[in-house]
Symmetry: C2
Subunit: 468 residues, 2 copies
C-alpha cells in the first residue's frame, strides 16, 4: 500500500487527503494549524459522500489517515508528497527544502501552487513539480502538471491511478493555463458589477444557463469549431475575430478593489446564496457535479471518459460460489421523492448483474462487439428493503437454467450488513444484433453456461414466491 | 395556435425555427439565401433528435413550417418576429424598419444581435427588443433580453413558454453580459496559442475537466463564495483579489490575428477534432448536453429547474378508459451497449406509470409531502419489443385490485404505432414516510382507488402469463 504525505491542510490540502485516502492510499498529514484536523474532517465528510457515487464499482478500502507532528515524520516513508502551504515564496522555499531533505529519493514532490512557476520553486535547490488542482479536488479530474518532463511523467501516472486527468503544461508561465482564463472572466465580472450592469446572480445565470453547459463537455475551441460550420475554424475566426477590436474589448485595465466594490459584491452574493450555508452549498455543488459527471460517464465523453478509465482499473467484485456480480455505492441520481433508491434502479442493478453473469459465460463486451448478445425478456423483482444514496450494495448471482439460447438467472441483492434487500429473476435469450432475433450461442458459451448451472446447483435455490 | 416569423436563417435563425416549431408554434421563415431551406432542415434534424429527449413528457404537436418569399408575408400575422440577419447596422435598420411597418401592432419584435445595443437598433424608429440566444438555440435555455422594460416583459413570458430562461439585462452595454465573459476567455486563449504555451486541445481540456463542470451548475460568483468558506465572499476577494494585479493579468492587449496565428489555430483544431465532421460534432455536443441537462433536471437545479418548469406546463397525457400515465420520448441516456433502451428503463417507465396511477387516486406529489406514499414491493416486466432513442412511448394503466393499503396495477407500454412493447405488473403498499412502515390510506384515497378498480373492470384483463 502506498503512502501520501500532505503538507498543509485547508480546503485544497483536505481535498488531496480525500482523493488519495479514498483511493486506498495511506495518508500522513502535517499542518501546524490546530484547526487542520477539524477542517480536513469536514472535507472528508463531503468526499466520502460524493466520490464513491461517481463509480459503478466500489472503490478500494480506505487507507489509514494519520495526523503527525513534524514534517519529517510525515514525508519519511512517502511515495508522494503534496505541498499546499500559503502562497508566499519564502514559505514555499523553506517547506519544499525540508521535504526534499527528508523524503525518500524516489518520492514525487508536488506543489499545489497557482502563483509560482517550477523554476521559482526550485531556485534554492528543492526538487518539485507543480501539480495544480481544482476545487473540489476529490471530484474534479483536472490537475495541471508543470515542471521537468521526467518529474511530470512520474506524477502523471500516479494522478491517473487516483482517477485524475493530468494536463501536462509544456512551458512554464505565470498562473499556468486554467487560472489565466478564470482570471480574465473574474476581471470582466468585476467590471460588470462595479458598473452596475449586472448582479453576481445575473452573471452566474449568464454562465450556467448558457456557455457553462457547453464548456462542461467541450471546451472553447471545439465549441467554436462547430459554430464555424463546415467551413471550419478559420472561417469562424474570420467572422468572430474582428470583434476583438470592438470597443467592449478595451475595458481591460484592472478594476480597483475598493471597500465599496467588495461590499457590493458581498451583499449581492448574500442576496443570491445567503439562504444556504457553505456546507449546504458544497453539498449542492457536489451532488450536481456527481450527477453531471455520471451523465458524461454514461456518454463516455470528456470527464466521463476519465471516470470510466479509472473504474476499469478498480478491483472486480469477488464472492463465494455464487457470482459476485455487483459491488457498488448508490449514487444521488438514483434516489426519488420518497428519499430512497427508485424502484427502477433495483432494475438497473439487476441489469448490471445480468451483464456480470453474461461476462462469466463469455458473453462480455468483446463478444457483444462480434454481433451477438443476450436480451432480457422477463423480469421479476421483489423489493424487501429500502436503500439510500451512499449505501453499498452487492449482488450474488446464480445461473438457474441454461437451455441453449435461453438462460434463467437469480440475484440476491444485499446491503453492507449482508441483509437481503431485494431478489430478482431474469430470463434472457441469446440474439443476433444484426437480425435482432434469437439464435443459439457458440459451443464455447453453451459449455460455460452449463458448467455454471452445475456449479450453482449446490447454492440455496429461490422459493416459489421469489420466482417468475 | 401562435405564429413566429423568423427573418434570416443560418445557424441562429434555424435554432429559433426549431425552438418555436417544436413547441407547437407555426413558423414563417424569410431568408433570401437560396440555401436557407437546406440549412434550416439540417438544424431541424438535430433539434428533432435532441429537444424532445429533454423532457419526461411529450412536447405538443409541431406547428406548420412555411418558407415565404417576402418579409411582409412572413410577419403580417406574426405574434413574434425574430430578426437574425448579418451584424451590420445598415442592414439591421432596414430590416427592423420593414418589420415594424408590416407586423401587427401587438407583435413582439426581437433581434438576435450580439453586436448592437437596443438604442442603436431603434434610432431610426424601429420597435425592437434585443433577444440574444446561445448556440444550440434549441437546447440552451439562456436568452439575454435588453431594451425597454415593457418590451422585455412581453418577450420574457413568451420565452418562458418555449422553455427558455430570459435574463433581463437592465442596462444596455456593448455585447450584453455573456459575450463579454466569452470574449475575455477567447482573448486569453488566443494569447496562449500564439505564445506556444498550450494547443487548442489542451486549453479545451483545461476547461472541460475543471471549471467548465463547475460553471454548468453554479456560476463564477457562487463557486467562489464556496471557496471563501464560512468567512464568505469578502474573505475570498481579500485572498484572491490581489492576484488581479499580478503580472499575468497585464497581458491584456489584443493579439493581432495574423495569417500565421489563424493557421496555427486552424491546424491545432484539425488535429483535435478533424476526425469528426461538423454534423458528428454537433450530434456529440447535443447528446452530451441532453445527458447533462437531464442530470440537472433530476436535481431540479440550474438549467434543470428551467426544464422542470417548462415540463409542468406541457399537456398531460390523455387516453381512454385506461389511464394514460406516460407519453414521452426515449432519451439518449436510457440506451445501452445493445443499441436499445436498457431493461431498467422499462422499469423506469413502470415506476413513472405507477406515479401516474398514484396521482389518479389522490396520492400525488402534494400528498407525498404530507408524509405518506406508496412503495413498490413486487414487479414483473415482460419485454416484447425493443425501443430506441427518440421513440415515443405511451403507457395505458389499469388498477386491478385495491385492498386497503395494497394496490395492484397493470401497465401496457405501447410504441407510436400502438403496438405493445412491454407489460408490467406492480404491487404497491401504502406507507408512512415517517415510520417507513405500511399503514391504511385515507378514506378519500380508499374511495378513489375502489372507484378506479370498478371503472377499469371493463378493460381487457391481463392473462396469466403477464401476471406476477
Amino acid at each position: 500500500m502506498k503512502t501520501a504525505a500532505i503538507i498543509g491542510g485547508g480546503v485544497i490540502g483536505g481535498g488531496w487527503v480525500a482523493r488519495f485516502l479514498l483511493n486506498g492510499w495511506n495518508v500522513n498529514v502535517f499542518d501546524p494549524d490546530a484547526e487542520a484536523e477539524r477542517k480536513i474532517a469536514a472535507v472528508l465528510t463531503n468526499a466520502r459522500h460524493a466520490l464513491p457515487m461517481l463509480y459503478d464499482r466500489a472503490l478500494p478500502a480506505e487507507g489509514t489517515l494519520r495526523f503527525v507532528s513534524s514534517l519529517a515524520d510525515a514525508v519519511k516513508d512517502a511515495d508522494w508528497v503534496q505541498e499546499s502551504v500559503p502562497e508566499r515564496i519564502d514559505i514555499k522555499h523553506k517547506v519544499l527544502g525540508e521535504i526534499t531533505d527528508n523524503a525518500p529519493a524516489g518520492a514525487v514532490i508536488a506543489s499545489s501552487t497557482s502563483g509560482f512557476k517550477p523554476s521559482e520553486l526550485t531556485e534554492k535547490g528543492a526538487r518539485t513539480v507543480v501539480a495544480h488542482p481544482f476545487n473540489p479536488v476529490y471530484l474534479l479530474p483536472l490537475v495541471e502538471l508543470v515542471g521537468a518532463p521526467d518529474l511530470r511523467a512520474n506524477a502523471a501516472s500516479i494522478f491517473t491511478s487516483v482517477g485524475m486527468y493530468p494536463l501536462e503544461v509544456k512551458a512554464e508561465i505565470d498562473a499556468h493555463i486554467a487560472d489565466r482564463l478564470l482570471e480574465a472572466v473574474w476581471r470582466e465580472g468585476l467590471w460588470l458589477v462595479k458598473d452596475g450592469i449586472a448582479t453576481t446572480e445575473e452573471i452566474d445565470d449568464a454562465i450556467r444557463f448558457g456557455f457553462g453547459l457547453r464548456w462542461a463537455q467541450m471546451g472553447l475551441f471545439e465549441t467554436y469549431r462547430i459554430a464555424g460550420g463546415e467551413d471550419g475554424m478559420a472561417h469562424f475566426i474570420a467572422q468572430f475575430g474582428p470583434c476583438l477590436e470592438w470597443p467592449w474589448t478595451k475595458l481591460m485595465d484592472v478594476p480597483e478593489l475598493t471597500d465599496d466594490l467588495i461590499k457590493t459584491i458581498a451583499d449581492q452574493s448574500d442576496a443570491q446564496s445567503g439562504h444556504l450555508s457553505i456546507r449546504q452549498l458544497e453539498r449542492l455543488r457536489d451532488d450536481n457535479l456527481v450527477s453531471m459527471l455520471r451523465a458524461l460517464k454514461a456518454r463516455d465523453h470528456a470527464a466521463g471518459a476519465v471516470l470510466n478509465t479509472h473504474e476499469s482499473a478498480l478491483p472486480h467484485p469477488t464472492g463465494g460460489t455464487a457470482l459476485r456480480t455487483v459491488d457498488r455505492i448508490v449514487p444521488i441520481d438514483w434516489t426519488d421523492y420518497n428519499g430512497h433508491m427508485n424502484e427502477s434502479r433495483y432494475g438497473q442493478i439487476v441489469s448490471d448483474a445480468n451483464d456480470g453473469v453474461m461476462a462469466a459465460i463469455g458473453a462480455d463486451a468483446a463478444y457483444v462487439k462480434t454481433g451477438f448478445s443476450y436480451f432480457t425478456v422477463d423480469t421479476r423483482i421483489r423489493y424487501l428493503a429500502e436503500s439510500k444514496a451512499g449505501d453499498r450494495i452487492v449482488v450474488d448471482s446464480q445461473l438457474l437454467e441454461a437451455k441453449g439460447k435461453k438462460i434463467r438467472i437469480f440475484h440476491r441483492m444485499l446491503d453492507q450488513t449482508g441483509a437481503e434487500i431485494a431478489t430478482g429473476e431474469a430470463v434472457m435469450l441469446h440474439v443476433s444484433l444484426e437480425t435482432r432475433r434469437t439464435c443459439p450461442p457458440s459451443d464455447q458459451i453453451m459449455a460455460k453456461q452449463e458448467a455454471l448451472v452445475k456449479a450453482h446447483a449446490s447454492l440455496p435455490q429461490p422459493g416459489p414466491a421469489e420466482r417468475l
